[in-house]
Subunit: 721 residues, 2 copies
Amino acid sequence: MFSKQFPLLIFMLLFSLCASAQKGYDLWLQYDPVEKDLKDQYRGQINTVVPYGKGETLNVAVLELQKAYEGFFQKKLEKSISIGGQDVVIGVKNDLPPYVLPSVNNELTQINSEGFVIKKIFIGNTPVTVITAQSPQGVLYGVFRFIREIQLRKSLENINIVDSPKIQKRVLNHWDNLDRTVERGYAGFSIWDWHHLPELIKPEYVDYARANASIGINGTVLTNVNASSVVLTPQYIEKVKALADVFRPYGIQVYLTARFSSPLELGDLDTADPLNPEVRQWWKDKADEIYAQIPDFGGFLVKANSEGQPGPNNYGRSHVDGANMLAEAVAPHKGIVMWRAFVYSEHDPDDRAKQAYSEFVPFDGQFHDNVLVQVKNGAIDFQPREPFHPIFGAMPKTPLMMEFQITQEYLGFSSHLVFLPKLFEEVLDEDTFVQGEGATVAKVIDGSLNNKKLTGMAGVANIGTAKNWTGHPFGQANWYGFGRLAWDPYTDSEEIAKEWLKMTFSKDRAFVEQMTEVLLNSREAVVNYMTPLGLHHIMDTGHHYGPGPWVGNLDRPEWNPVYYHRADSLGVGFDRTAPGSNALSQYAEPIREMYSSPETTPEKYLLWFHHLPWDYQMKNGKTLWYNMAAKYQQGVEDVEEMINTWNEMQGYVDDQRFEQTQMLLQIQLKEAKWWRNAVLLYFQQFSGMELPDFIPEPEHDLKYYKSLEFPYAPGISPSWH
Amino acid sequence: MFSKQFPLLIFMLLFSLCASAQKGYDLWLQYDPVEKDLKDQYRGQINTVVPYGKGETLNVAVLELQKAYEGFFQKKLEKSISIGGQDVVIGVKNDLPPYVLPSVNNELTQINSEGFVIKKIFIGNTPVTVITAQSPQGVLYGVFRFIREIQLRKSLENINIVDSPKIQKRVLNHWDNLDRTVERGYAGFSIWDWHHLPELIKPEYVDYARANASIGINGTVLTNVNASSVVLTPQYIEKVKALADVFRPYGIQVYLTARFSSPLELGDLDTADPLNPEVRQWWKDKADEIYAQIPDFGGFLVKANSEGQPGPNNYGRSHVDGANMLAEAVAPHKGIVMWRAFVYSEHDPDDRAKQAYSEFVPFDGQFHDNVLVQVKNGAIDFQPREPFHPIFGAMPKTPLMMEFQITQEYLGFSSHLVFLPKLFEEVLDEDTFVQGEGATVAKVIDGSLNNKKLTGMAGVANIGTAKNWTGHPFGQANWYGFGRLAWDPYTDSEEIAKEWLKMTFSKDRAFVEQMTEVLLNSREAVVNYMTPLGLHHIMDTGHHYGPGPWVGNLDRPEWNPVYYHRADSLGVGFDRTAPGSNALSQYAEPIREMYSSPETTPEKYLLWFHHLPWDYQMKNGKTLWYNMAAKYQQGVEDVEEMINTWNEMQGYVDDQRFEQTQMLLQIQLKEAKWWRNAVLLYFQQFSGMELPDFIPEPEHDLKYYKSLEFPYAPGISPSWH
């Protein structure tokens, strides 16, 4: 009777007790009951957990395993103090009993300080699963990996996993302001409730740490790169400490953004010149003050002399001077400085795409050892598609940190389903050719190309107060995917998609296969309906919501979309070859040679590098104008296809997330059509050519699209007002 | 076996499936399983639900009953099309079968259009429970009441409840801006995600409507009284319509704030003069445009010529001119205008407390029938304690709407546990004496005193994006209590406290009794540690966070705390008797007479009406200074007592809310001490008297307290920057 009643009962309880709860809060950490046929098999291999050692990280590892176990098997996982049989033994190498070590010693030599070993071994005739590592953090990562194996319904029978992160600093960047607005945040507002800190520790802080630890993220920059110096006051350091204390057991270090003018603004000095001894001492003292509260403080992230932020240039000093000063302040505490290379100036008439390279490459080798230069994936700004940033490969003596944007500033905000690991993967896989073939961006980033001692990858977070963290239920996949790629930049995006879908929605094969295709195609869809063929930065200005290719009235030329597409009656595109801006010269051969001619330039980058006539004949024999129209139309149809597939998924997912995604896909479709219509009508003024037959009659005229205003579009920082 | 396994199973499932969900989202609508001994008894009386009639409100009534039933009994409640026995029959009077009507006809004559009857009747020998009303909305209210009876574990055996709301417009005021900041919002940000409307309908919109309907709230003003005209554009009306469509089945009308200068700002006219025919036509057209989309649109709430808002005075016109113009625009659609009496001017040298009365009372009888003048509970601004506003009772020919503030602008934000129904009740129970004894504020508001045709009560919402809606778990009680008092302003606050505690936390008697005491004492506590003995508006300025009695440098005199306490070496307090501002003259006798002497003034209002020497001898024989210190100390001890009680409640509540409340109480204690120390040290400069022995040595000196700055205190509207 019990077993017959069980499924119904589960259903009833789920409905009645959890029904009104919001779906999605649990992210990919859903520990649903294991199906009956697998349940005994799994449980037979997890009798008890036997932790060796002490410490809060080991404690949370045990708790997480217990939590998962109780979800999977509706039974408490007991803790033992000694090994029985079919137990899960966890602990760092040095804490394991001597009779366990020989069976894992070989594997332990293969991992780094954050890696782990999960191995089924025999102690005499007694089978046990050992999860061990060099550090407590490694053990925790191993436990999360072990749990994931069950979530993915993999066999534990002969489990033997040896894994280590390939990148050291795996960091989320929160562009969160102290008033809880989030610059480029589309999932509500900042989860950091500064006002109630340090006293009020919210459950979401812990769940944030759990989620990050489960995918190996080991650092978080709490504050916006457009920084406020207030976060460096004692009042706020106390608040930061409270968060650091929550995150520490999960192996997550906190970092802050350092506003370069802080010594001035906090009222202590009358200069922030990085070569001034008082300024240098001020930062040393400030670092000491922070480290006294937070001994494992990660360090500073700095946006300097960029988009109005103060920096060393204000005092006639260089980025090296600024970065090294801060690096010296945190060095005694083993802190690092992440110094952004995202600089461009309205006073520099040169192509914006060239400026960061021009400014930073000459500094190669001059930064201190604990400085990471943080470089966006492309030379402009987180577009739906950009060629890799030419700095990658061009600074062999400088640790370079990749900066990806997880929040979808230029990719439809939180309304569009876009699976970003596909974008990240494309960048990481690109070959810089700086040391011959195979010098991929991934190898630059993981340090293997030039034997770098310090490595990192940053992702601008898409996390907010939304009940499901990211607004769009599928935005969670981008957080997840960033973490997986920061751990291992060679991971296949298809594998990431499948894992995430199974853990988040359903393990049903039909669901996973169809939705994997949706995810993998979604990035090309957004490129098609926004910026195909190498177009870029033609979003409406300020908020970046929707198309604005007509905008040309902003003070700074490089903030105008017309700067980027350069459309005229002769053609469209940005000539970055030698006769043009020659940004192409910043790349190595054979890229330089190949991209110098439109014929040998990949069509996806065509208008990034070339200004071409509207009737330029492309590989398919059709004109550029025809192909451009076809791409926009394809983008719309891509979304229609996504909608069709999703509509068939109703049986596999809960109603709440099903309907929410359905509604969001309708927004995406509406906006894809908006993009198609507005951009084609705008460019048609220059091309003077008919829209191909396959383009439906636009709903509105160009005047209408140009008239649209969005004064309350989300993601605008108060500093932009 | 089943029954033995059951409790464990429930526990396990709860833990594993809901554990990581956030507690508190369900508010008071928690339908936990009924204890075994009562379960069969209840279930025997609810075989099926038999709805008569059609319509979306009836549909949601059925769904809500089914949802509750499934929670209570873990079994689906079936819908029948005909009465069997022990069914729950629901439907409006006119849809009930003829053989049911006679048993409820008598009760039906006792209710108004929103009231309901719940009655156990017999059809022949067949017992059934009938829930009926004049309107579908009444039926829904009846269903929620029926559910509440079970939540409170009352007997259904001979149920016979006849109830009607005593006030017509029971409205939440959201001070939510279109950028999702909330003025005086301390529970995160606006739940209205304007950017994704109208397409994305979030689950919280529905749950918001459910919660409101369950306590009888029938209207919501979506936007801030400091209004943006953008909400009146077609783009936003479409968004408002989407929300109205969600709320309609739950009997909730939407209202908007109307910015008086909209005809100008939206670019259509060059004046907003309310006597200009074009302006009048503009508002008529705008109303028609809104009603075409939202046929049951409630109307407008207006803050005019107050704190910088535009209004009729800008054109030399009166509040009557302005209100009546808008009233004419919405009248054809049965809309109303809620016109705020919260006006005061920096150009008027008269006591701020007098200005609203002086301006509005002469207009009595001049407003159109569909205008409600909305009056704050006190003459200043939502202080921890104020005497009732003298307008109440002074405008017998004008419908007056009560405006309470549920959000705790001046009462510790969302960090302090303050049970506001106690404050609301105090105001409602005050006797205005305008028509002899017994002319209470409640009778003014419910219209019974002067036979008013239109009645209303507004509450400034404390709702935001916080996972539990209100930030502080106990903030929910204030939303709940406001709804209960808007339905029936004579409800006892103790009853509200008990109901809410039982539905929200635990029905255990020990818990309910102890925590009821905590709730009922909590309001006096905040008065004690912030503004005892009639002190008021001595909060720090702008954000109103913490004490700021020393502030005296703001441009507008009446924005300065020193304006309100008037402390000097001679004494403290605001003389509002005849020799002073004579605000007292705005009250009826015998209040005027009684309060004119400090000896006969209730000590709780002492310094509101009198400036008294520091050594003034109070009823207990001690000096004013001593008594003031004693009150502040008492406030701190009140909070300590609350903490002690809460610490004993651990066994009755879930860990998450237990710990959260514990942390918040620590903030409250810290801030209570901060208030005590800062205010006493400040006033000591004037009194020149020693602090009594029972006051502990302050942790800091006055200079320190004066130096504190909170640039990112929550609840500041961008318009304040």
